[in-house]
Symmetry: C2
Subunit: 202 residues, 2 copies
Amino acid sequence: MTEHQVQTKYTREKICNILRSDLIAGKFNHDQPMREISLAKRFGVSRGPIRDAFLKLTQEGSLVYETNRGVRVHSAIADEERKIMMNMRLDLEKYCISKYIDEADQKDHGELEVLLEQFKSACLRDSLPAVAESDLALHRHWVTRVSKNLEPIWLGLAVRILMKYSRLENIEESIGEHERIVEAIVVKNKERALQALASNLI
Amino acid sequence: MTEHQVQTKYTREKICNILRSDLIAGKFNHDQPMREISLAKRFGVSRGPIRDAFLKLTQEGSLVYETNRGVRVHSAIADEERKIMMNMRLDLEKYCISKYIDEADQKDHGELEVLLEQFKSACLRDSLPAVAESDLALHRHWVTRVSKNLEPIWLGLAVRILMKYSRLENIEESIGEHERIVEAIVVKNKERALQALASNLI
DNA sequence: CAAATTGAAATTGTTGACAATTTCAATTTG
DNA sequence: CAAATTGAAATTGTCAACAATTTCAATTTG
């Protein structure tokens, strides 16, 4: 169980990303308190970077903060709220993909293909945290490329939506949807891309 | 210029709220770096709580963070992005107000009236930070009352949208719009409330 | 003299110590 | 015996010191 290979130091960014995908993957229970000290030990850092990560995840909505009581995992969201968020996310990503198709160059397309491969590989390995992380990374690609302003809003939506439905079901379907999105983007077919996105996000 | 009255200690929450309304009010220039040390001195605390506030404001989008370079004020957003955000915010608040009308009790209505008065008072005082803060507080009321999950998403949108258009123009119009929203809510007229909201947010 | 290099000052990143608060089981009280 | 009280343990909040990094003006180099 111990790590024998050399591990680069964990920064607050890395810790935040790791905790986020763990949370999305359901590794912690809803309402479970997250303790600074135990996580500081786990990552081999002091409490400072852990607190930094907690703050970020709190703002994104996966954690809930209470004064002098620390943070706990957020409760599951209601179906109705999820629907509202899903619609907002769909609107946002439609805008981004449409613009991405206009603006992206060869290099972007290359990155896109890499991210798709990583997603497919995670699916085949059946690793829920890896699937969650690579799914996020793929969608994040076209959002970030189009607008740094929209990215944090998108992330907040995506994290909360994923937190509820993150079982390893319909993996085959999900792979197909993402393949269709990427393919349509590469051949610059907006209509097909937006349609594939909608079927992935509804 | 010095403070003579007793000032309760600044916590990261208070600092965050103060900086947010300052940012919305345009007290800092776009792309201007925010220094931890100078703000720590201003609030009479160590750098820790300032860093906490920076992280939160970064996630909300008013500040931009770069490794080893700290945070700076975000650049203004493009009109096109603002339109996307405005639509998302409108959808979100429509849902919240509609649900708020169903669920709110007498006490909620009382708070609503208080917040409206504070907004009007800030407008009459011509204080841009106070206007920005009380405008946010009013809208936040019906969002938070309906869903703790949607609140941080809403805040991210509201902060970014306000950052661009926060001059003291059309104050009379804005007062009237907010009065119409609150009045329609109190008499539980959804149609009128949503219509008033739309004219406020478009 | 333009471009590269150096180094001190400024700034951010991380840590461990201590203060303040909360929690919860053991004890006291009516 | 139920309810209130106490106090130690656990946990979060804040701080000041030090490490690592960036910045930028002064110096060197071709």
